[in-house]
Subunit: 128 residues, 4 copies
């Protein structure tokens, strides 16, 4: 039976339906490829310079912040119930899409960069 | 021969060495897990509220922008040769690490959110 | 004649009309007072904490950036003719309004802070 | 006696010394003039394009946020006692210096823009 061989972190059985988390099955290469194709199909590489994309990441980051502008820290943890959670998911997606396009524009292996930075942080902030 | 069966986008043969791009082999779940463990090991969940993390994404986005603050768009495309490329990779990693921690804090399947947003954008901006 | 005694930088005679620049006649205290009254009249001091206001400055700064996101540096100098200049004036005003509210919240003499910072910069970057 | 005729908000008598708040005596024109001279003396107008200055405002706004990144809203109100208040004053000054340079670059009467925006906000959010 196919489900038997699935790694347990990767898939969840909910209401007898097999739900596959995209986070568990999609690589950053695939996402970068999707973004690259979207940009290329529209001939937008001319706009997607590293400078403009760095601005774009920052603009989208501000739009995410806007959801949390006037609430306190405690309330922010409950935003799923009280806020516009669909919009929040779109805003975090927008930031990451521009991060992926930025990585495309400079040919950065971003998973590698993330892992190296976590390892550096682990050394900088040793476990208590 | 093992190399023969590798998908061509995913691996590169450079100087007879097999280089595996992390972007092709690492999922967002694995990266989110690494970030979650880093935060948990230091008992930092108390600081990593969605509000604080949204601020943190924006702060790191500004640090990336700083690398492009005074140069023009053309120069930004050549930043690998002229700028501090190691620092740029660290800055994009910092942004994405906070994006992953934000996704952890609100249990967001971020790959799913990214794909859905790209599909929405594809409809909003039809191919020319 | 009254116009004779006006300091020349402060007032301009345009088409025989006397135009008084607000920048020449209004102090930061007056602007801070206007902002304080606006916030107080709505009982918004509870939201206008330094943390929230720092976020707000950053959010408005991103909205200003949005006007320049995809254009090049040369085009940005001509934005008065090509862009939405009324909106740009509103965005820079929004940033400064939050800066003034931030200064109110922590009782900062912001003109003094600005002058001191310029003097520090003058020492740090000597004239060529 | 001269001190008697001073407006009370504008001047404070501290230890028998007459302290004049800069906010009460300095106009935005004077501050803009100081910034313009600083930039011109260093031949930096070439860098101070509206696009680069919009980025710069955002970068400095993020540096101010950094002071409030991990603290809660209540703590942020007490930052004068617990934080690096001198640095906070420098960061708010940096933001405003770039706002003034931005206004110089596009010839904006920023006090006028602020007053008009407050009046617009007063209509949009009527007093309760």
């Amino acid at each position: 039976m196919k489900a038997l061989i699935l790694k347990k972190h990767f898939r969840l059985i909910i209401d007898k339906e097999l739900i596959v988390l995209k986070d568990s099955s999609v690589t950053l290469s695939e996402l970068k490829g999707r973004v690259k194709k979207f940009v290329g199909d529209r001939n937008w590489e001319q706009y997607h310079s590293p400078k403009n994309l760095a601005m774009s990441i920052s603009i989208e980051a501000a739009e995410l912040m806007e959801e949390f502008q006037w609430i306190d820290i405690h309330e922010s943890r409950n935003i799923k119930d009280t806020g516009d959670f669909d919009n929040i998911k779109e805003e975090i997606a927008d930031i990451m899409i521009y991060c992926l396009s930025f990585s495309n524009s400079l040919d950065i292996d971003v998973a590698d960069a993330i892992i190296k930075k976590i390892e550096k942080n682990e050394k900088r902030f040793p476990k208590p």
